[in-house]
């Protein structure tokens, strides 16, 4: 069965299990999503399911977007995302809700991590920095050497250094589903999820088990 959802991160809290232990969970308001397109190998060269999430005023969308959604008979939607699946067993126009997920199942959650701006090597890559004492000055958080000497005489491509950190697509794998509330379109997964509160997240069946 196709398992995928688009949702909004609500925030973290805790839920007590039947033994009274507190489980840290992230709440996600997920779905209802509409199947807006099914990609097929004959036409598109691959298989995937395109989902749409969050109804929006038609004024917010362009004519092309409205036509794309009108073709399959779904309301205007703010977000469209594709989920690669081998066997798309859903039809265009179908509704996908949290009921596709069950408590105890494992899921992968993809989000956009919080932007950290331009950060140094110590925060961004865990560099050790320089010595704090022994007569050193201005070297505590320095990145150190970027490479060898006159051979190769340049910095190797892809070497780690200071730069923009965060605001990247991040997936956390194998999170356990703790709660499914179809009435409120609510899903709770054990542990943290990338991104700020209110951030868009994609929920997929776990790739590894």
């Amino acid at each position: 069965m196709f398992k995928g959802l688009i949702g909004k991160k609500i925030g973290m809290t805790q839920i007590f299990d039947e033994n009274g232990a507190a489980i840290p969970v992230t709440l996600i308001e997920a779905g209802p999503c509409y199947v807006t397109q099914v990609r097929r190998p004959e036409k598109d060269g691959y298989t995937a399911v395109q989902l749409g999430f969050q109804e929006v005023s038609p004024k917010r969308l362009t004519g092309g977007q409205l036509g794309h959604l009108k073709k399959v008979g779904v309301p205007p939607l703010r977000y469209l995302r594709e989920f690669r699946v081998k066997d798309p067993d859903v039809q265009e126009g179908d509704t996908v809700t949290v009921e596709r997920f069950a408590v105890g199942e494992r899921v992968d959650v993809t989000g956009t991590s919080k932007g950290r701006g331009f950060q140094g090597g110590v925060k961004r890559h865990g560099f050790g920095g320089g010595p704090k004492t022994h007569g050193q000055s201005d070297r505590w958080r320095a990145p150190g050497s970027r490479g060898a000497g006159s051979t190769p005489g340049r910095t190797m491509k892809g070497s780690r250094g200071p730069g923009h950190m965060g605001h990247a697509r991040v997936t956390v794998m194998g999170l356990e589903v703790v709660l499914v509330d179809p009435e409120r379109n609510l899903l709770a997964v054990k542990g943290g999820v990338p991104g700020p509160k209110g951030g868009l997240v994609l929920i997929r069946e776990a790739r590894k088990n």
Binding site: Q14, I15, F16, A22, E29, L179, L186, K197
Partner: protein, 122 residues
């Protein structure tokens, strides 16, 4: 919207936990599972910290165990493992976090009792 969703999964408030303030001498009755037997254990001491946060609220109780060793325990206020909490007395304290008690022993670690008039809030 999101705040309501957070509340939707919140555990119910325990009616057997009265309002707790820093400096209170309290007994916390905890349900403890031993194998398949359940019993209730009492933890009596001074409340040195009360942390809000609705569903995620906690409070910390400090007691002096045998040989004068201080033991602190933090409880989740909404935990179903707490059977009940009783307040034995209130103290006159001037701060919210009573961490200064950690460095004090014996007579110095006492707090002045505060008497709250019952009829004032009823």
């Amino acid at each position: 919207m999101s705040a309501e969703l957070l509340k939707a999964v919140a555990a119910p408030k325990n009616p057997n936990i009265p309002e707790i303030q820093p400096g209170d001498i309290v007994s916390v009755y905890l349900r403890i599972k031993e194998g398949n037997r359940e019993r209730v254990q009492e933890f009596r001491g001074t409340v040195i910290r009360v942390r809000g946060g609705g569903n995620d609220a906690t409070f910390t109780v400090r007691r002096i165990a045998s040989h004068g060793i201080g033991v602190e325990r933090t409880f989740l206020t909404r935990s179903p493992r707490i059977e009940k909490v009783t307040v034995h007395r209130h103290s006159k304290v001037r701060r919210a976090r009573l961490y200064f008690l950690r460095e004090r022993q014996g007579k110095k670690a006492r707090l002045k009792e505060k008497f709250i008039r019952r009829d004032a809030n009823q």
